[in-house]
Symmetry: C2
Subunit: 222 residues, 2 copies
DNA sequence: GTACGGGACAAACCTAGGTATAGCTCGTCT
DNA sequence: AGACGAGCTATACCTAGGTTTGTCCCGTAC
């Protein structure tokens, strides 16, 4: 069913995966067939703990959850995943949901909440949108965590200088604030540019924005 | 009921307003009393067109909408407001809502969706959260639109230079790309700094980020 | 103890950024 | 026609940014 023919090193490069969690085996089968019919990889589980035992996916993916699951409910699973810092987009499916449930799920970031019977096109669209969102989220995350790891390679003094420089101060002002000589700041600044991989001050400013190193305000003078 | 005593110039400085749209007069009264009891200003309407006739508020505010309204439904009103570029947070109240309605409302940005009977504390919390969100939205909007109006005072050449400078190019590189002399770029650059009210290149980069003037990527070299 | 890395600084040197003054063309508004 | 603003440039001058080479102190890991 799933066309994985053993340890083939290529092939699953960026192939998205749909995870299904539903206690109803016939539902799992139906959804699996549906998703595979449009070329998506699928992994299906009967309960929340089974899903949690697998390692978080490294490719764009989404979850299709029945809200009523034995043991951990779909909503609890959503909370647990959020706590575990796993932000795979979730699509809920429900037979007997109510409005407060829906609101809670949507407020917690669910991308859709479908009621049974689910039309094929409806859930395919939802899955497509969810995977697209996850792809974007992953792209952003990759960029930011790359910058963060560079930032962590800075010494504490270099970080001091970074934050003052990106806040717009001149070298001499940075030096004054840190009680250093201007030449020292210049040297640190060069080291920062190299370690951060920034080609220009503009790059550095953007990186520090991404890291959340804010000075005060998008400072404007009248 | 509404304690506005004529044209008093002070008093409504940043006083938030709750707008209510509900065709049930007794419900309007109950909600109005509830909100006023905690010191909130209230304006209540019986239908969507009545609300649309008033000018968009200039203070943090939120909407409390019954989803079933005569004529334009709550959901349609939400869409209309979005089209009119009015992004006041919306709290829906419903007696007989269903899940697809809820999902649609939440996907379109509603902050909450409550079912009757509504507990007092529940809706007060929702209103508080909505007003807080609107306050933040307004703050951000004010900052960005200030920057945008400065940007609009730039000549087209100045804008060219701005985008290349904030993308990290040196003056001579900007000059080469635009077919100008370096000195010309320097002079435009100075004019840009003055017109934009930027105290430093870092400021200018942040402003261009806020304006969505992106070069390509948070450019990193390995 | 010594080797190593962080932190700090200096002299010398070069490039980049930025201002003031002045002068030119071109199109448009009056 | 004349004034005006955008666009463009030059000379001259000054400040800010940035690298290289070399030196010193200190704490810690081996």
């Amino acid at each position: 069913m799933n066309e994985r023919a053993g340890p083939s090193p290529k092939e699953d490069g960026d192939q998205p995966i749909v995870f299904i969690v539903d206690d109803d085996a016939s539902m799992r089968r139906a959804l699996t067939n549906l998703f595979e019919s449009v070329g998506l990889k699928v992994e299906a589980f009967g309960s929340a703990p089974q899903l949690l035992q697998t390692k978080p996916p490294e490719v764009p993916s989404c979850l299709v959850l029945d809200i009523r699951l034995p043991g951990t409910s779909g909503l609890e699973l959503q909370t647990d995943l959020a706590k575990a810092n796993i932000h795979t987009p979730i699509i809920f499916i429900t037979g007997h949901g109510d409005i407060p449930m829906t609101v809670r799920a949507m407020k917690s970031g669910a991308i859709d909440f479908l009621t049974k019977p689910v039309r094929d096109q409806e859930i395919l669209d939802a899955v497509q949108a969810a995977i697209e969102r996850d792809r974007k989220r992953r792209d952003l995350y990759k960029t930011v965590s790359d910058v963060r790891s560079r930032f962590e390679s800075l010494t504490s003094r270099e970080r001091d200088v970074l934050s003052l420089v990106t806040s717009g101060l001149m070298n001499k002002q940075v030096a004054a604030q840190l009680g250093l000589a201007e030449i020292t700041v210049k040297i640190y600044r060069g080291q920062i540019m190299r370690k951060m991989g920034a080609k220009s001050l503009a790059d550095l400013v953007r990186m520090s924005e991404a890291l959340g190193i804010r000075p005060s305000k998008p400072d404007v003078q009248t």
